[in-house]
């Protein structure tokens, strides 16, 4: 195996996995909150929030990457603020790649969770509230377990998207091997030079293998969860 891929390629695979997992896990709580607000909330700015969440989908990824560079970069307003006050730096670090992946995958995550929340029977939530559960507990003990398959679906979708994310990432944090070079960036690099196709193909196969593994795993977990809820 080590012969098959160069160290640098292994780094790209490992980095892509790390970036995607972190992107999905870190954006999950916000994703659930936003999905809940969009599904159940009736507040001013509902439409704006919804639009904002979907922006990364509509814009060409390079634009998103550029906007990230302008805001979260070293000289960007938010980037400087986070650096000074919390010591968090996104610029040209793997954390930046994770941020880009999270932003790009966010609409997928939110939509899936939102659909799941909308499918929960509100009468069950009402039943929980008459049993004395405050709203937050109703959410944690009834809504959340019931939307688990939806959350899982959203996470897989987001993970897949994060694994494939390229345009925003390379624009925001560049393509620095070992630091910000993800699998798609590596594939891109190979495709830019004569004779790089076979190396690119190898990496593509790895990406496919990872994605299919993740899909099958999630499918399996999701069926197990659903089976418990809807026995015969």
């Amino acid at each position: 195996m080590t012969d098959w891929l160069t160290t640098q390629e292994w780094q790209a695979v490992a980095l892509s996995l790390k970036v995607s997992v972190v992107a999905v896990l870190a954006s999950l709580p916000l994703g659930v909150v936003v999905a809940y607000a969009l599904a159940r909330g009736r507040f001013w700015g509902h439409g704006i929030l919804n639009g904002l969440v979907h922006l990364p989908l509509v814009l060409p990824p390079v634009v998103t990457g550029y906007l990230l560079l302008l805001t979260f970069g070293r000289r960007g307003s938010i980037g400087q603020f986070l650096d000074q006050w919390f010591g968090i730096v996104f610029a040209f670090r793997w954390t930046g790649a994770a941020l880009a992946a999270a932003v790009m995958a966010f609409p997928l995550l939110v939509r899936a969770i939102r659909l799941a929340i909308e499918a929960v029977d509100p009468r069950l939530e009402a039943a929980a509230s008459t049993l004395g559960a405050p709203r937050i507990w109703v959410f944690l003990t009834v809504t959340l377990p019931l939307i688990l398959p939806g959350i899982l679906a959203g996470m897989v979708l987001a993970f897949a998207k994060a694994m494939g994310e390229f345009g925003a990432t390379i624009t925001f944090v560049s393509n620095i091997p070992g630091q910000t070079q993800t699998l798609p960036s590596a594939i891109y690099s190979f495709l830019q030079v004569p004779g790089g196709e076979s190396a690119a193909a190898r990496l593509v196969l790895i990406a496919i293998a990872i994605a299919i593994t993740a899909l099958i795993l999630s499918e399996w977990v999701s069926r197990a969860v659903a089976r418990r809820i809807r026995a015969s």
Partner: protein, 373 residues
Amino acid sequence: MMLSVDLQHHMPGFDLDLTFTAPAGVTALFGPSGSGKTTIINAIAGLTSPQSGRIEADGQVFFDSARGVNLPPHRRQLGYLFQDARLFPHLTVRQNLLYGSWFARKRPARAEFGQIVEMLGIGHLLTRRPAGLSGGERQRVAFGRAILSRPRMLLMDEPLAALDEARKAEILPYLERLRDETGLPILYVTHSVSELARMATTVVMLDQGRIAASGPADQIFADPATAPLLGIREAGSILNARVVSTDGDGLSRLQSGAGPLWLSQPGLVPGRDLRVRIMARDVMLSLQAPEGISALNIIPARVESLTQTGRDILVRLEAGPETILSQITRRSAQLLDLRPGMPVHAVLKTLSVAPGSVAQSLSSAAQTPEARE
């Protein structure tokens, strides 16, 4: 504890507008399908907000449209047994049962887990999930879940409709005990007159979103005017009596205002005060005291009034301080030539008194529930 309800709610094609109070004990909401029973209970539980009105329990305001008060459901501490069971599909039966007790851990438990599980016969289901349960099993679990949430009031929407007689016969006495021993007030929706007669201390009769009649159960049942509302066959009166003794053959002797009464109920403890429901159609009238007959209860009485109800005659009898209703055919009334003031004997088979028709008196049942209307 006393619940007072004042509601106005308009829906396309349906208007709700009513005021009633439910004192301690069991208040039955009775009325045809679509008359608004579930809507009222939902409003009390806080699951729907009426357009205007005021709901108050023991001085705590649940809802007041004038003052903009609307307590969320979980702060009302009510146990609600839904018409559909609404079990949590992702939790086991045990987890469903214990769901409410976690939030109620600061309030004292009224019933023990094991005791409830046994009464409901759901011990073998504890590790299962709701998906595979039968209709009746679901309803029993839902009942346990509501009780175990330690509510200060129970709202029950046709709780027993899906249960078989045997299970009903086990649950009803338990509900009575809850009502009597803990003073837990119960608002009870039912279509069954026998459940109504057995359980209710107060009756609120609904028709198309309005109150058709309301008051203490004894009064409502003894009133020939409410007979059509209950369905004519269900007319009857309630006698208050005290158990005197129980004999070796299982018969108990009771003393009522109308005279001695023999009943064949298990578990009657001497000294207890009971409410005995006597169905008008089970009461036979005889001019002389009959002899050589299997009926043990022969009560001397005086005809007070004769009311034609539908094709039959409802005879209101005065037996001491008590009222007894008897329903007979017009032909019999003519043959016996019944007239007000006439002395007669009311004949009642011991076994005609259904076990469900005997209930323990409740001190609060004697209170006069006010029903503002």
